[in-house]
Every structure is written in structure tokens, then in C-alpha cells.
Symmetry: C2
């Protein structure tokens, strides 16, 4: 807040409210630099605490601050990349005597470095998430479609405690739980900024499984979000229906090499773009640059921060000059799309430590045969 | 657009893009009053058409318009209630010679009246949605929790073709597929602006099922979204575990009376608030005002428009002066929370016609016994 030049911040978006208070509420968390935070709450009814003040609307905030002898801020940070323009105008009017700046970059940066408690939530999520993935071969039945297999995995996720909801930063990003890509559907470009696309079932949600029947020789990539603790681990495993062509296994091993190398580089101080560049170099050296992270449409990143939202800072991608910091939590996801086969590759969630990324989604990384 | 004083509109949000183009894309749909619309597209790659122009960023739009001899708008409408403040600033700079106004109210109003094609999608959704609800008693097993029953319903929804995603208007609204409320959890207030609340499984998503074990004498209210066509029908049914106390059935019958009466009133020209007021009067006359739409926290509406998003215009609620129009599609959802029992009541999706609301979620409205 200081670095950004503000002396107060108003938090109103769900992910930030959960981050700051431990629960989603409908209200306005006012964090002044010189006082205790105050939670101006609309809903739910029935909460109490020293810092909780019920209001019907944000316009009441200034008067309440005044009654408590708290001067209005000189400069207040709002969540400019998240709240709508109309909401911004409303809060700007509430704090009409104050300068108003966009606090989202600072908030996202703060959220990118995790506390010990947050790390413990990721660890727990990693164990549950891996446990569900371990069961996937048992869920496969001959003749299934990609959607049918996805539905059985979703069910296991939910029974294992997933809250289901998949939080993404950015109003144009959306997905249901995650994606399962079989065969050439993995090459279908999508409007969304996920690592890979997929046609989806309908133009209203063009991402992921598209009712492809799973057939011998297909690669099946499962990248489904685990939301077991409010903090999402991100993991992908590649499955095969029987045996894949040799070049698919070669590409998968190349993905594992990229993962090992970028995880090794994931130490505090590393520049994010360098991990992406190194990934690209390894893909190139192995003759796989043209199918790295897609074919007709290629993602320009090999990983990203994870947290309450699946796409937190930093981005391990082109032109990302952000440096890694200790206790960031990042997903590394090198993937290749093999024409006529499907997507192969890997994704794990790593904890950034002084000795590199420590994998917390603990499951073997090799391709698993669904028919074995 | 004319009525709002604008001569162009820029559509960038997913729900509006799907409404206007039939598919979600990453891009900017420019709709000038005097020319054909142009779709400035970022992703996916590979689409083509007379009106499609690929761009990397919105800053290219003005130059392309100029090359085509299209003058910049005098006044452009942006989606001010949906896009972030940062996005608004960016588009405002793109159209720096133009006045910029918030187009969301006009867009939402336009979307509230459905075309014949949209109505056919709702009809299809209503049939599939009802088909899944019909199976619910078969999914019940003795000793189940509310979450476990919900998971089995979710699975049936998905296998019946639901895309899963639940689109809601407003950045602070969120839910996973829908809610199942058993017993006293129905009385738990939530931060969200849905008809009823529920504690949820975790403070990161405090809505709906909370791992209550389903027990004899409990009411189980299922309100799960069906997204089978891109247009969501909304329906609620009440189930019982064995027999409920008599006053719960009485309250349910009162809900059916409210539904019948408000559906009868749902003709073009009706003022929305009047339907709410009538609902409240019937609840009051039956001595049930204190538990209508909640107990400690009561929703102040009895229905709402549905569409690509679950909460479209109009709102059938307090202070809603909007009038119903022919071919609006509305959910009517009178519900009561009975202490020690759970929620009872009903929700159906109705098509507004000259002779009142025509129910399109075709399933019996009575309480169904899960153990029968």
C-alpha cells in the first residue's frame, strides 16, 4: 500500500475478501494504514466482532469513519482490474475527497507470496487432488466419451471434498472444474487464455471435452482443478487408451525434462521469462517447438501462480520480468499436442524454495494406460 | 442504442458476445448504428467471415474503422456494469474522440425479451432439466449427506448434457451448479443474493449444502441450474425424507398458491413489484410472512428473469417498477423456511404470454418423498 502511494484500501471482491478475512462476505473491507481494518458488512446477517459494522450501502462508510474519529484517506486503492466500472464510480463518489488508484496489481503481488498457513492448505489440497487422479484408470470404461470420463472424475473430486467452484482472475476467463482433452480435440483453439484449448460441447463454453469417443491409441489429458481448501492446486496427467505411438512418449519425456529443468530454476530471484525461454529452448532442441503448448494457437507461457484463483501471479511466460520469490506457489505445465494422438505432458504445483520448486501434487508423472 | 443516445456499442463480455454472435470469443464486437457490425477477434484462430477482422489488441480498432471509411462514433456504449474499471479506461482511450456511456442497462433490457429461437432453447432445456429432477428419488440412499445427494444430481445433470457452468450477473455472485438445502441449513444466511442461503461446505463458498446428514422428517430443497442449451432454466422442487409435519405441507401449498397467482398476473404490462406485493400478501394472509424467503435474512423478491445468466431482468421484487413484456422468461420461486424441517416451496420457469406465465419446466409441483 505504501509503495503504491495509498494510505487506505477498500476490498470488495470475493477472492480478495476471502484472502483478507478468511470468508466470503458481501461487504466492504476498509484497511487504513494507520488504524485497524473495519469490515462494513451487508450480508450475511448475524456476524459480530469489534471490527464488524453492518451497513446497507457503501455510502454510509464515510460518516461512520467520521463518527469514529478516523480521517478519510488521502489516497485510496480500489480493485480496478476486478470491480466493474460502475462499482468504481460508486466507491469513488463515496471517497470523493480522496485520490483513487488501482490497487489490483499490488494486491495480486501480495497474494502471490504465500504464508505458512496457505502453504499448508496447498499441501493438503495436493494430497487429495493426487488421490482422485490415482483413481482415474478405475473410472474408465471402454467406449466412453471424454465428457463421460470427465463427469466421473468430477464426481470423485466432489466426493473427495471439492467445492467445485473454479475461480479464475479476469472476467473473460471461465471453465467448469477443468478440462479433459482426448485425441485431436486437444488441438482445437479456444478463446480462453488457458494452456490448451479444446472445442467444448457448445459455443457458449468453447473449452475442453467435446464428446469425443475414447479410442485405442488416443492420449487423454486430464487437467481438472482441485478446490479442496479454498486454495487450488493445479495438476495435469496424461493417460493413454492402450499404447501411443513412440513419438508421443518422446514428447512426454521432453515435457518431463522441461518440468525438471524449470522446477530446478524456480528459486527466489529467478526471472520468470527465463523459465519460459528455457522451456522453449528444450522444446526446440528436441524438434518439438511447433507443437509446444498447442499447434495452430500456442500459449506463450509454461506456468503460472496458483492460489484462491487458478491464474495468480507470476506468469512464467514471454515478457514476464517478474522475479520469483520464496513461498510463491506455481504450476509448471509443459504440454505438447501430437496430431492424430492428442495432448501429452505434465502439470504439477510447486512450492518455490531456496533449493528450487518442491512438488506438492504427489503422483507419478508418467503416462498411465487406462486399459492396463 | 438510439434511446440511450449512442450511435455505437462495443461488446466484450462473454455472455453478451454469446448473445450477439452465438458463440463466446475473445474479442470486441463493434455495433455501429449506421453500418454492419464488425467482430474484432483475438482468439480463437481460424474463424473467417466478412465481418471478422483479427486484431492483437483493441487499440487497432479505430485505424481499421478509418481504413474502411467508417467514422468513429459520436457516443459509444460500453458494458459499464460488467467490464472492469481498467478495461473501461482502455476502451475509453481507444475511442478518445467519442463520448462514452454505460450500456449495460440497455443491453440487459434488450436481453430480457426473448426471441422465438431463444424460447425454443428454453423449452428444450425445460424438458431435460425436468427429466433429471424426475430421477432424484432414485438417487437417494439412506444415510446420505446433502452434499452426496447433490453430487449424484450434478452427475445426472452433466450426463444429460449440462455444460455445468452457471453464469450469474454481478461479480460478487457465485455458486457451483446450484444449491441443495436440507433441514435447518436452509435457514443459514448467506452473503449472496440468491433466494435462500445455506452455510455451504467452506467459508470460501458459503452457499448451499453443508454436509448435513439427511434424516427422517427433513425437507430437502433442490434448486440446481440446468445449462443444457446456453440458456438456463431455473427450477426448484421440494423432497422429503419420509413424512413432514403438517405445517410444512401447508406452507408448500401456500407457495403453490403464490406461484399460481403470480403466474396468472405475469402478463405483458404487469408491474413487477405488484407480483412481489401479491406474493407477500398471500404469505401474510396465511400467517407465513416471517418465514417467507428466509427467516433471519429474507430475500425481497419472488422471481427474476432467466437466460444466459441465471439472474437476468426483470426482478420480481420490492421497488421493481419494470413492466413485464411478452416473451420475457421468468423464474417464479416462492419459498418458506420451516424451522426444524427445512425449506419448502417451488420454482418454475415461465414464459410471459398474453394469457399469463406458461410453465416450461414441466414436472409435478408437489413434495416428493425420497423414501417412497
Amino acid at each position: 500500500m505504501c509503495a503504491a502511494g495509498a494510505d487506505a484500501c477498500l476490498i470488495t471482491a470475493n477472492a480478495n475478501l476471502f484472502y483478507a478475512t478468511g470468508q466470503v462476505v458481501a461487504g466492504y473491507l476498509y484497511i487504513p494504514q494507520q488504524h485497524e481494518p473495519l469490515l462494513f458488512l451487508r450480508r450475511p446477517v448475524g456476524l459480530s466482532g469489534d471490527h464488524i459494522i453492518y451497513v446497507r450501502k457503501p455510502e454510509e462508510i464515510i460518516e461512520i469513519l467520521d463518527q469514529r474519529g478516523i480521517s478519510p484517506p488521502k489516497c485510496i486503492m480500489l480493485e480496478g482490474d476486478v470491480i466493474s466500472h460502475s462499482e468504481w464510480l460508486r466507491y469513488e463518489a463515496v471517497f470523493s475527497g480522496s485520490a483513487v488508484i488501482n490497487g489490483t496489481p499490488a494486491i495480486r503481488k501480495a497474494r502471490s507470496v504465500k504464508t505458512d498457513f496457505e502453504i499448508s492448505l496447498f499441501r493438503r489440497s495436493g494430497i487429495i487432488h493426487s488421490g482422485v487422479y490415482r483413481k482415474i484408470p478405475q473410472l474408465y470404461r471402454r467406449g466412453m466419451t471424454d465428457v463421460e470420463l470427465s463427469v466421473e472424475i468430477e464426481r470423485e473430486m466432489r466426493l473427495a471434498g471439492s467445492y467445485g467452484i473454479f475461480r479464475v482472475f479476469g472476467q473473460s476467463m471461465e471453465i467448469f472444474i477443468g478440462s479433459l482433452l482426448a485425441g485431436d480435440n486437444a488441438a482445437a483453439p479456444s478463446p480462453y487464455d488457458f494452456a490448451l484449448g479444446g472445442k467444448g460441447q457448445h459455443p457458449s463454453l468453447p473449452i475442453g471435452a467435446d464428446n469425443t469417443v475414447l479410442r485405442e491409441g488416443m492420449a487423454v489429458m486430464v487437467d481438472m482443478g482441485g478446490n479442496f481448501t479454498g486454495y487450488m492446486t493445479d495438476m495435469t496427467r496424461t493417460f493413454s487408451v492402450g499404447k501411443l505411438p513412440e513419438h508421443a512418449y518422446f514428447a512426454h519425456q521432453t515435457a518431463l525434462e522441461i518440468q525438471a529443468e524449470t522446477a530446478r530454476m524456480a528459486v527466489p530471484g529467478a526471472i520468470c521469462e527465463n523459465l519460459w525461454q528455457r522451456a522453449l529452448d528444450i522444446a526446440d532442441r528436441n524438434g518439438l517447438k511447433n507443437c509446444f503448448m498447442g499447434i495452430s494457437q500456442q500459449a506463450k507461457f509454461v506456468g503460472h501462480g496458483v492460489g484462491i484463483e487458478i491464474n495468480e501471479l507470476p506468469v512464467l511466460g514471454a515478457r514476464s520480468q517478474m522475479t520469483l520469490e520464496k513461498n510463491m506457489m506455481i504450476a509448471i505445465e509443459p504440454k505438447f499436442v501430437i496430431a492424430g494422438v492428442g495432448a501429452v505432458g505434465i502439470e504439477n504445483t510447486f512450492w518455490v524454495t531456496d533449493s528450487g520448486g518442491e512438488k506438492i501434487t504427489l503422483l507419478d508423472d508418467q503416462i498411465m494406460d487406462l486399459t492396463a
